[in-house]
């Protein structure tokens, strides 16, 4: 079982990317695409951010310029599904990721057929209109419905990346162990099992040592079955911790250069 790192850096929320999107300046975006590819990202998250005047056009443009410099598949990150579709068309080949879709029927009906049509995976969130549940069972119930939806719309279950949604530990601490329990159960829902993912940096919002919280939690989550996460792939200590957890769980054959090999995948 491999671990898929989804590089979070190409997001308009970051100042340099936000400015680049506003000015249609490819340079910072392509630089981060290359930098994250070299760090071992399995997907590059692409979020146009709040500054984009035309989300559809920006998504299309960014997908294109990223594809020019990296072969790593893109995770199209938006709540605007027309923008995601424009991105999928611009990418023009299967293997991209749609980020994301909650367990809401109207959105499922828009996103899942689109994923099947373009051969894309889906980051599926264990929440609905009433929000993010606290306990693990409710998260798993959402996951089950999402797996059923995948089956209904012809999306292979191993194209599903179920995100049980971690919240900041300084304001919603009880969620952290519940997410771990949910991760354990989601792996057993179907065969082939869906992937699981987390927007990891969320766990450490506004804590003084974010990197420490992030890498501790990611190792705990990998132990519970997590096999992908949206992370800062250039946080070397975190990537080293992930590589080590992956090796200690016997997912990768040990060799002295195991960290280096992990990053080269």
């Amino acid at each position: 079982m491999a671990f898929y790192m989804i590089g979070e850096r190409i997001n308009g929320m970051f100042k340099d990317i936000g400015e680049a999107v506003a000015k249609f300046d490819p340079k910072p975006i392509q630089e981060w695409a290359i930098k994250q590819t070299q760090a071992g990202a399995a997907y590059l998250d692409l979020n146009v951010g709040p500054t984009a005047a035309d989300r559809l056009k920006s998504m299309e443009w960014m997908a294109k310029i990223i594809s020019e410099v990296s072969d790593v598949p893109i995770a199209l990150d938006s709540t605007n599904y027309d923008a995601i579709e424009a991105g999928l068309i611009a990418i023009g080949k299967p293997g991209a990721l749609i980020n994301s879709c909650p367990n809401e029927r109207a959105k499922i009906e828009r996103v899942f057929p689109m994923a099947a049509k373009y051969g894309a995976g889906i980051v599926a969130l264990t929440m609905d209109k009433s929000g993010i549940p606290l306990n693990a069972d409710a998260r798993v119930a959402h996951a089950m419905e999402l797996v059923a939806a995948a089956d209904e719309f012809g999306v292979p279950t191993d194209s599903l990346f179920i995100d049980p949604l971690i919240l900041p530990c300084n304001v919603a601490q009880p969620h952290a162990p519940e997410v771990l329990e949910a991760l354990r159960q989601i792996r057993t829902l179907c065969d082939p099992a869906p992937h699981t993912t987390l927007g990891l940096s969320n766990v450490s919002q506004n804590t003084p040592d974010r990197s420490l919280v992030n890498r501790t939690y990611v190792v705990m989550a990998i132990c519970a079955g997590l096999d992908s996460a949206i992370i800062d792939v250039n946080d070397e200590t975190m990537v080293e911790a992930i590589a080590t957890a992956d090796m200690l769980l016997n997912h990768a054959i040990y060799c002295d250069s195991y960290v280096k090999v992990f990053k080269q995948r």
């Binding site: 065969d191 082939p192 990768a252 054959i253 060799c255 002295d256 090999v261």
Partner: protein, 323 residues
């Protein structure tokens, strides 16, 4: 209700390595041999592709070996003529595997690097099969000999062996200079196998030029341990570990014939052991058959009769079992 047959889906596959070069490719070989390429476990054709049949290399030495008399029937007239021996070998297998045991520095008339290079050149001139050359097994002499061999065989895309964890740089450099393949040997240790593959790759040798030798044991002498290592390596390859995805060579012949059982004369044999002539061949063929099941892409065979048995066995194993 239709039944969906569950099949294992793999994301990775074994790297393909080509041995030999024809005239169009800058060499003089009559044909090339492709190793590896599988995207499934050995012989499970219903779960993936096995584009290349496992190959048989035939072992020859540059000096008269101390082998059982049961080889005389095939080789008595060529023991002292490695070129003639090579010509026979190419009839029995796909690849000639020359072991330069005569360059052993501890021998009285140890052959020089230059003599070895000349022999390799002569063998290449007189045969058409792809060639593998193994040094005498002493690091300094190996480096010297293999460098000369690599130069003499330029363009022929031979394989040079063997590189080990503590002695791989010069051999990798020689292989790269002559655009040859390299065999990396690890001592029945999966972690060193992976690390050595990484180190050779980091020297700049491309993945499609490296063959892995996990130093497999012979039947009755640790073969099950070799089996589990090879199985795990193949599994790693199939789930996407590129450093485990190099084709594997197994020295079935030399390992099998190291044991007492294939060699013991009839009067020294245990009860029910049977005739030595047949026993030795079967001992080697059984070793090879097990190593093929473990994922061997290239099997080194010593006895021509064992090669015949393995060919027949491979024919049967490669009848399509797709459904």
């Amino acid at each position: 209700m239709p039944v969906d047959i569950i099949k294992e889906k793999f994301t990775g596959k074994v790297q393909e390595v080509v041995l030999g070069a024809t005239k169009e490719q800058g060499g003089t070989r009559a044909y090339t041999v492709k190793l590896g390429g599988s995207s499934t476990l050995p012989f499970l054709q219903f779960e993936g592709e096995i584009p290349n049949r496992p190959s048989i290399a035939i072992e020859i030495w540059d000096i008269k070996p101390d082998w059982s008399p049961s080889f005389d029937e095939y080789y008595a007239d060529v023991w002292d003529d490695p070129v003639a021996w090579a010509k026979k070998a190419e009839e029995y297998g796909d690849i000639i595997y020359l072991r330069l045991r005569g360059a052993d520095p501890e021998l009285e008339n140890s052959k020089s690097a230059d003599e070895c290079a000349k022999l390799v050149k002569k063998i290449l001139e007189n045969t058409g099969a792809p060639l593998i050359v193994e040094g005498p097994g002493f690091p300094d002499k190996d480096n010297e000999v293999l460098q000369a061999v690599a130069e003499a065989a330029a363009g022929e895309n031979i394989a040079l062996g063997v590189a080990e964890k503590d002695n791989y740089r010069s051999i990798a450099a020689a292989a790269m200079m002559g655009k040859h393949c390299i065999i990396g040997r690890s001592p029945v240790d999966i972690n060193i196998m992976k690390q050595l593959n990484i180190m050779i790759t980091e020297m700049g040798v491309p993945g499609d030029k490296i063959i892995s030798d996990p130093l497999t044991g012979g039947l009755g002498y640790g073969i099950e341990y070799s089996y589990s290592i090879m199985e795990r390596a193949r599994w790693g390859a199939l789930i996407g570990d590129k450093m485990m995805a190099l084709p594997v060579i197994c020295l079935a012949g030399p390992e099998a014939w190291r044991a007492k059982e294939p060699n013991a004369a009839n009067e020294d044999a245990g009860p029910g052991w049977g005739d030595q002539k047949e026993r030795g061949v079967i001992w080697e063929a059984m070793t090879a058959a097990a190593l093929l099941q473990a994922g061997g892409d290239l099997i080194l065979i010593r006895h021509p009769a064992a090669a015949q048995l393995i060919k027949k066995h491979l024919d049967a194993l490669l009848v399509s079992n797709k459904y």
